[in-house]
Amino acid sequence: MKTDVVVIGGGPSGMSASLEARKQGAKVVLIDVESRLGGILNQCIHNGFGLKHFKEELTGPEFANKLAEKVYQSDITVLLKSYVNFIGKNIVYAITPNGQEKIECKAIVLCCGARERTAGEIYLKGKRLAGVYTAGTVQKMINFYGKLPGKNAVILGSGDIGLIMARRLTLEGVKVKSIFEIMGHSSGLRRNIRQCVEDFEIPLLYNHTITRVVGKERVEGVYYAEVDENRNPKPETEKFIECDCVLLSVGLIPENSLLPEETKREKFVLVDDERQTSVEGIFISGNVLHIHDLADNATEEGEIAGKFAGLKALNMSKRYEKVKVYFSAKISYCMPQLINKKEDGKFTIYLRANDNFLKKYIVVKCGDVDIARKFCIGITTGEMQEIEVEYEKIKGDLFVDIGD
């Protein structure tokens, strides 16, 4: 098979990347391992999606459907139940229902999303019993299959999926006994803390973690304790709580195993404002690049990657000198890290703060000159910030800071 652009992953970012690449005139093949498009949105049956991108409140499947309909109305080739085994320069190998398929292409957009951090990765101590699951697995269990993980749950971690699942379990009649968060604050959205936890009076204990999972064959309870400033449990504060399942919401990790090793040396895959990696012709967007708070943001990023992958495949992209994006210690990361010095137009820098700030400015500097400033009433670690910058103001490397 031959095409211009192959998009791997049919979630919001992959669908929007496909649509944008097609809009440029490129022939597009969209591949997904599941039997329908939508990615993880299909199991997110709660609302709160689409406010930014579609200007209306949607559930996950509704959001996915809006994009999927457009994909099916176009002449994008969709390969479902197909697993991409390997990607190389201008080549994608996939296992499809019809066997091994070799797809030659001119650009690849990787939109494979993220996976959940597991009990092993956080060294959760105790026995490996039935009843310890990641929050997303339980979401699938309940929303796809109508099954429950137990009757009395505790949740470790207060990421968005954990908060959403606290509400979901409660609505399904499962008692959520407590949520433990090792940090002093939640990494989830403020609206989720209000709507999923506070409204249901679920105890959320900050600076606490699970020290031991106990039981014979299934989970029968956990020991938990307060942690000190180094996040080590204080033994004297250890207590027991009875429960029959433990949900983990302890972070998402980009599932970028398909990327060539050379692109993965840093904490984040290095991309430019077109979302192209250091390997020419390989673009990347959505949660596989960095974890987004909103499907809307992943969708927007897919549009960027898809557009430039399309142009690249059609030999319509231009080369520019690149500048780097540096940032202060108040910021944990900025995306993208490289900017093409284009003549006109605008681009957006996405960033995540290291701490919570009240009434501050996000500032982008070029040398001593402020080239963009944005006032923010509240900046939290849980919510991604964004700031628009004009290309024509770039004279050299950029520095992003949070200041007055």
Partner: protein, 453 residues
């Protein structure tokens, strides 16, 4: 029917003996109380085929280890399971101790042993810390999947007329007119000769058989599993101590890295992982290696080594000559198992005729893999279905995991566990909420609304 032999305990020793008896053309039944084979020590060890320099010369351990190491290669080939001689190296600065170990190895009959220089050691283990100078290199050491080894031995046995009974908890033994009758909850088995290799359950079985019991001790070993990496390409041991071979860093046959085990004497059979254990592994590994890929840590587990004194017990019962007792099989038990089986069947039971040719078992991985279910390990639906239809029943999520590795990867089943449950449910005509993780009451999920299990 009256079986010629009954083997009690479906670990690596039991499955090896079961297989060997079938090779002698005798009838045999393998009894296991859990829902799958290899759920005790066999599933939770380093997966090493040891060279044999460590055990005391003249001991059963030394004898069976060296012989077992010889036997494994052909056996693995026949069983169509991967085995690789990757080698092992004991590292340290105490050259005298290394020399003593070398001498012991030579006395035990170990081939291809040598003391390596600092430069050679760097080549063998590039990530070893700079201040470690010498090594004892054993070329014949290798890697195997311990649970897959046991399962494949049993599958081949069943394919050739043997019987495996899982979920068979023996309540009672009777012995009359040279025939043993074992009663389970709703099943009875009769046989002429019995092997007790029930591992941690040895004494319970011996009591029912009215034969010798031994003071069995439990020693827990914790491990850290790292996702696929080339951090070490062979097994790296510290110098051994009284507690065992020490914490090692080794690749597994599937490409993961194992760090561990610790060695802690405990009172009850308890497979918890602990703060102390994990900290011990981390501090030792960090002090001995550089570039440890701890960011790819995916799991921890602990296994129990049973022991009765320093050596293995492999002998006929003094109280009933139709019973063979096998106890205290700890390291190098996995390596020794084929040699123990050979000794038990040929020497103790005097089955001296030549092995018959067996119909080979089918690999799960021959043929089209189908739709990929486990994305991390790239395991297809057809491969899981072949495992579910293999000669030894495969009832649980962990049983599937051991056979095809679905759920062994970096997401630890987060993506595929429910799909695996669906395939199990379909195979056995169960509801999703009836599917178990490992043991009888380890239900994965419950029906929405009514939670009555």
């Amino acid at each position: 029917m009256v079986f010629d032999y009954a083997v009690i305990g479906g670990g690596i020793v039991g499955t090896s003996i079961f297989n060997k008896i079938i090779r002698k053309g005798k009838s045999c039944v393998l009894i296991e109380r859990e829902l799958d084979l290899s759920t005790g020590s066999t599933k939770a060890n380093s997966g090493l085929i040891h060279a044999g320099f460590d055990a005391k010369t003249g001991s059963l351990k030394a004898r069976f280890n060296v012989r077992g190491n010889d036997l494994v290669e052909d056996l693995a080939k026949q069983l169509k399971i991967p085995f690789k001689r990757t080698g092992a190296v004991v590292v340290g600065n105490d050259i005298e101790k290394l020399n003593a170990l070398y001498e012991r190895g030579i006395n035990n009959g170990v081939k291809d042993l040598k003391i390596v220089s600092t430069e050679e050691l760097r080549m063998l283990v590039p990530n070893l810390s700079e201040d470690i100078k010498y090594g004892l290199y054993a070329k014949t050491a290798g890697l195997i999947s311990p649970y897959m080894f046991a399962i494949a031995l049993a599958e081949e046995g069943v394919k050739n007329g043997g019987v495996v009974k899982l979920d068979f908890n023996i309540n009672k033994f009777t012995f009359s007119d040279g025939i043993f009758t074992m009663c389970g909850e709703d099943d009875e088995v009769a046989c002429k000769k019995v092997v007790n290799c029930a591992g941690a359950g040895f004494n319970e079985v011996s009591k029912l058989l009215n034969v010798e019991e031994f003071p069995i001790k439990f020693r827990r070993g914790e491990y850290i599993v790292i996702d696929k990496s080339d951090f070490v390409k062979l097994s790296v041991f510290p110098l051994p101590t009284a507690l065992g071979k020490g914490i090692l860093a080794t690749p597994t046959i599937d490409g993961n890295i194992l760090l561990g085990p610790t060695a802690e004497d405990i009172d009850d059979y308890d497979t918890e992982t602990t703060n102390n254990g994990i900290d011990k592994i981390l501090s030792y590994i960090k002090s001995t290696f550089k570039n440890v890929p701890l960011n790819k840590n995916i799991r921890q587990f602990s296994g129990i080594r049973v022991s009765v004194g320093d050596d293995f017990i492999v002998k006929k019962s003094d109280k009933n000559e139709n019973v063979v007792l096998i106890a205290g099989i700890n390291s190098p038990g996995l390596t020794s198992a084929p040699a123990i089986a050979e000794y038990v069947v040929e020497e103790l039971f005097c089955e001296k005729n030549k092995d018959i040719n067996l119909i080979p078992r089918d690999s799960y991985f021959q043929g089209d893999s189908g739709r990929i279910v486990c994305r991390c390990e790239k395991i297809g639906e057809n491969e899981i279905i072949r495992a579910l239809n293999s000669p030894v029943p495969c009832y649980t999520v962990d049983a599937v995991k051991r056979r095809v590795r679905a759920g062994m990867g970096r997401c630890q089943g987060g993506q595929c566990m429910i799909e695996v449950c669906k395939l199990i449910a379909k195979r056995y005509g169960l509801k999703l909420e009836d599917v178990k993780k490992e043991s009888k009451n380890s239900f994965v999920m419950f029906n929405g609304g009514t939670y009555e299990n």
